[in-house]
C-alpha cells in the first residue's frame, strides 16, 4: 500500500512546472487566450518534451507511461491554466490505443505522440445525456461504408484538431455505438470555432454532411465509450486540482496581505473558513482522482465509480471555489486585469465537461446498487 508518487513522477512534476513557469506565465496565458486560443510554438515545445505522447506506448513513439503519470502533468498544466489541446489529443490517442486496429494504431498514434497530429474526441450532444443512450448522431450504411450526417455542438479544441474521434449510432439497440476517425480535411466536415466563457479552453461545432467512413476508419463500441468518458472525467478533474490549488494560493496570499479594519483580512474567521473549506474540498477530489487514475492503469473494477466520484465532487465544489476566489478579493476580483476571474471561468468550463455533478452522482448511486 503506497498512496504517493515515485521519485520519477515528482521529477516529471517539477520539470513540467518549471517549463510552464518560464515559457507560459500568466501574461502569456492571457495573450494566447485573448488571441487565437492556441500557441503553435508552445505546442511544438511541449510535444518535443513528450507531453502528448505520455500515455502512448513506446512502439508508437510515446513514453509508455500511465494515467497516474498523466495526472501529475495535468495538475501542473491546470495550475498554470496552460491553453493547449493536451487533454483532447491524449484522449483521442487513448481511444485508438484501447480499441483501434493495429493498422489504425500504426497509422495514427505516432503523429499524435509527436504532436504533429492534434486530436479531439467528439462525444457529447445537445441532449446532455452522457453514455450510450445520449449518442444520437446517426449513420447510414452505404456498402461497406458508413455515412455520417449531423453535428457535435461542443467539441473541445475543434479549430485546432486535425483528427476527430466521433461517437455515432449504428443501430437502435442502446449500446449500438461505434467511433469514426474523421479527418478535418475530409469531404463534408466543417468546423465552427465558438468562443467560450473560459478563453483558455477552446471548442467548436463539428458539422458532418455526408462524411464517408471506410472500413478502416471505424472502430470501438459502447465499452470504449464508457472507458473514454471515465478517462475524460479523470483528466479534467486532474487539471482542475491544479487550477483550484492555484486559485486557493492566490486567494490565501491576498488574505494575508490585504489590510482592512487595521489588520490582514485573513485574521477574520469569515475569510479563513471558506478558505479552509476550499482546501478540504480540493484535497478530497484530489484523492478521488488519484485513485481513479490508478484504477484506469490497473484495469480495476472500480474504474467507473472512482471516476464518477471524482468528477461529481469536483463539479460540485470547484464552481464555488471560483466564486469564493473572486468574492474574497472584493472589487479587485471583479477586474479583467487581476487573475481571479480566470479561475472562476475555468470552473465553469470544467463543471459540465464529461458530465456534471448530477450525472455523476446518479451514476455513483446506480453503481452502488440503488
Amino acid at each position: 500500500m503506497n498512496f504517493g508518487f515515485s521519485e520519477e513522477q515528482e521529477l516529471l512534476r517539477s520539470e513540467v512546472a518549471k517549463f510552464l513557469a518560464e515559457s507560459c506565465p500568466m501574461d502569456e496565458v492571457r495573450r494566447i487566450g485573448e488571441g487565437p486560443g492556441f500557441s503553435p510554438e508552445l505546442w511544438g515545445q511541449v510535444s518535443e518534451l513528450g507531453w502528448p505522447g505520455l500515455i502512448i506506448d513506446e512502439a508508437h513513439g510515446g513514453a509508455g507511461l500511465g494515467f497516474v503519470d498523466l495526472v501529475v502533468v495535468l495538475e501542473e498544466v491546470g495550475r498554470a491554466l496552460f491553453p493547449s489541446p493536451l487533454i483532447s489529443t491524449t484522449l483521442a490517442a487513448h481511444a485508438i490505443a484501447r480499441a483501434g486496429s493495429p493498422e489504425q494504431q500504426a497509422r495514427l498514434l505516432p503523429g499524435l505522440a509527436a504532436g504533429t497530429t492534434i486530436g479531439s474526441v467528439a462525444i457529447a450532444e445537445a441532449g446532455d445525456l452522457h453514455g450510450a443512450a445520449g449518442i444520437t448522431l446517426a449513420a447510414e450504411r452505404n456498402g461497406d461504408d458508413w455515412v455520417l450526417t449531423g453535428e457535435k455542438p461542443v467539441v473541445a479544441d475543434a479549430a485546432q484538431a486535425d483528427l476527430f474521434v466521433v461517437a455515432f449510432r449504428t443501430g437502435e439497440a442502446e449500446d449500438a455505438i461505434a467511433f469514426g476517425l474523421v479527418e478535418k480535411t475530409a469531404s463534408g466536415v466543417s468546423v465552427e470555432d465558438r468562443v467560450g466563457i473560459d478563453l483558455t479552453k477552446r471548442q467548436g461545432r463539428l458539422g458532418l454532411e455526408g462524411v464517408r467512413l471506410g472500413k478502416g476508419d471505424v472502430f470501438g463500441d459502447s465499452e470504449l465509450l464508457s472507458q473514454l468518458l471515465d478517462a475524460g472525467a479523470t483528466a479534467v478533474v486532474a487539471e482542475s486540482v491544479g487550477a483550484a490549488e492555484a486559485a486557493l494560493a492566490l486567494t490565501s496570499g491576498y488574505a494575508k496581505e490585504r489590510i482592512q479594519f487595521g489588520r490582514p483580512i485573513g485574521q477574520f474567521q469569515a475569510v479563513k473558513h471558506p478558505l479552509a473549506v476550499m482546501y478540504r474540498d480540493i484535497e478530497s477530489f484530489k484523492s478521488l482522482v488519484y485513485y481513479a487514475a490508478w484504477c484506469i492503469d490497473e484495469g480495476h473494477a472500480d474504474r467507473s465509480v472512482a471516476a464518477s466520484r471524482a468528477k461529481a465532487m469536483m463539479s460540485d465544489t470547484f464552481p464555488q471555489i471560483g466564486i469564493d476566489t473572486v468574492q474574497l478579493h472584493g472589487g479587485m476580483g471583479y477586474t479583467w486585469e487581476y487573475d481571479a476571474h480566470l479561475f472562476l471561468k475555468r470552473a465553469k468550463w470544467a463543471r459540465p465537461v464529461f458530465g456534471d455533478a448530477d450525472h455523476h452522482y446518479e451514476r455513483v448511486a446506480a453503481l452502488g446498487g440503488l
Binding site: G4, M313, E362
Partner: protein, 386 residues
C-alpha cells in the same frame, strides 16, 4: 502509487479473518466477551501500534490498517475496553511518562482493568482550550488543585483522570499548563452527571476542592502540559475506524431508502435522495483515500499534523447529514421517538440524529477544524486577541 497490499500483509489479513471467525462472540454474553478480550490481548492486538517493550504489538502502519478494517467489517467487539486510555492517555504516557508511570499504568490500560476520563474542558475553556484556569499550586511534594472541569465523558465510572491545570502564567497562554494523573477517589473530587439531549447521561461536571496530588503523578514537565495534550490528540491519523463506521451507516441508509416511500414511490428511486446518498458515498471514499495519503506520508517519515483536520471536518458534516437524511426518508414516521414500538430500525436513526454532538463537538468543533486548516496549513494569521 499502489493500493494493493503485499503478500505478507495479505497473510496478516487472513490471520485476522481466521481469528475473528473463531473467536468473535456469538451472543455477546459476559463470559464470551471476557474470553474475546483475553484472546485479543494474548495476540497483542490491544495497543497494536504501541512499542513491544511496553506491552504493545509493535505493529506496522499497513498492518494497523488491515486490523482495524477487518475488525470493523466483521462488527467485532473493540480491541480492549479502556477507550480513552488506549486512544490518548496511553500514548501520552508512553511519550512523556517516567519509567514508573509506564509500569504503573500501561499494563492496566492494555488489560482494561479500569476506565480513564479526560479533564480538559472547563466552563470557560471549551474551543479555547489553552485558556484553562483550574488552579494548581505546589505545596512541598504535592500539588493542590482547585477548580472545575466539564463535558468529562464517563467521569462517573472512571478510576483515573488525566487533568490539565494551570501552574503558572507565561508569555503565551499555552505556557504554564501542567498535566496531572489523578485518582478519581481522591478526597475533594465531586462528580455531577449531565444529561444530554438524547436523554442519556455520558458526561459530567467534575469539581476539585483542594485536591492533593503527589508530584510524581505529573506527566511531563511542569508548564509543558499543552505539548503533552497536543501530541496525544494528534495520535489518531488514519481515520480508518471512522471511515468504516461511516460506510456502515451509508449501507444502512441505502437499506432504509429501499424500504421507505417518498412521494408515493420508493425513496431509492427518488433522484434527490439518490444524489444525496451518492454525495455521502463520495465524501466517505475521499476520507478513506485522504487517510491513506496521510499514512503514506507517515510511512515515508514525513510529518503529518494538521491534515487530519480535513477528515475531521468532513466527518462532522457527514454525521449530521446522515441522521437528517434518515429521518427525512422516514417521512411522517420520522417524528417517532427511539423508544416507540413502530419506529423504523429500532430507533437507531433517531439516536443518530440526537447523538452526533458526541463526535462532532468532542475533540474540536468544525469551526475549530477550519481554524486549524486555515492557520496551520494555509498559513493565515491568527487573530491576535485569540
Amino acid at each position: 502509487m499502489d493500493f494493493d497490499f503485499t503478500p505478507e500483509e495479505e497473510a496478516f489479513r487472513a490471520e485476522v479473518q481466521a481469528f475473528i471467525a473463531e473467536h468473535k462472540p456469538k451472543k455477546g454474553t459476559p463470559q464470551e466477551m471476557a474470553t474475546w478480550h483475553e484472546k485479543v490481548r494474548e495476540k497483542r492486538w490491544v495497543g497494536f501500534s504501541w512499542p513491544k517493550d511496553v506491552g504493545g504489538g509493535g505493529g506496522g502502519i499497513a498492518q494497523q490498517v488491515i486490523l482495524k478494517e477487518e475488525m470493523a467489517k466483521a462488527k467485532a467487539p473493540s480491541l480492549g475496553t479502556c477507550f480513552m486510555g488506549l486512544a490518548w492517555v496511553g500514548p501520552s504516557i508512553i511519550e512523556y511518562g517516567t519509567e514508573e508511570q509506564k509500569q504503573q499504568f500501561i499494563p492496566d490500560i492494555l488489560d482494561g482493568k479500569y476506565h480513564w476520563c479526560t479533564g480538559y474542558s472547563e466552563p470557560d475553556s471549551g474551543s479555547d482550550l489553552a485558556s484553562v484556569k483550574c488552579k494548581c499550586e505546589r505545596d512541598g511534594d504535592e500539588y493542590v488543585v482547585t477548580g472545575q472541569k466539564i463535558w468529562t465523558s464517563i467521569a462517573m465510572w472512571s478510576k483515573w483522570i488525566i487533568l490539565l491545570v494551570r501552574t503558572g502564567q507565561g508569555e503565551s497562554k499555552h505556557d504554564g499548563i501542567t498535566c496531572l494523573l489523578v485518582p478519581m477517589d481522591t478526597q475533594g473530587i465531586t462528580v455531577r452527571p449531565i444529561q444530554n439531549m438524547s436523554g442519556g447521561t455520558m458526561f459530567a461536571e467534575v469539581f476539585f476542592d483542594e485536591v492533593r496530588v503527589p508530584v510524581e503523578n505529573r506527566l511531563g514537565e511542569e508548564g509543558q502540559g499543552w505539548k503533552v495534550t497536543i501530541s496525544a490528540l494528534a495520535h489518531e491519523r488514519s481515520s480508518i475506524a471512522e471511515v468504516t463506521s461511516l460506510q456502515r451507516s451509508l449501507e444502512g441508509l441505502r437499506e432504509l431508502a429501499r424500504k421507505s416511500t417518498k412521494n408515493g414511490a420508493p425513496a431509492a428511486e427518488d433522484r434527490g435522495i439518490r444524489r444525496r446518498l451518492a454525495s455521502i458515498d463520495a465524501r466517505i471514499e475521499a476520507m478513506r483515500l485522504n487517510g491513506m495519503r496521510f499514512l503514506t506520508k507517515q510511512l515515508k517519515g514525513e510529518p503529518v499534523g494538521a491534515e487530519t483536520s480535513v477528515n475531521k471536518l468532513t466527518r462532522a458534516e457527514l454525521e449530521v447529514e446522515i441522521g437528517e437524511l434518515a429521518l427525512e426518508m422516514q417521512g411522517s414516521q420520522g417524528v417517532l421517538g427511539a423508544g416507540s414500538g413502530a419506529v423504523p430500525d429500532r430507533g437507531k436513526w433517531q439516536n443518530h440524529a440526537l447523538n452526533w454532538p458526541e463526535v462532532v463537538i468532542g475533540g474540536g468543533t468544525p469551526n475549530i477544524q477550519k481554524n486549524i486548516i486555515a492557520e496551520r496549513i494555509l498559513g493565515l494569521p491568527k487573530d491576535p486577541e485569540a
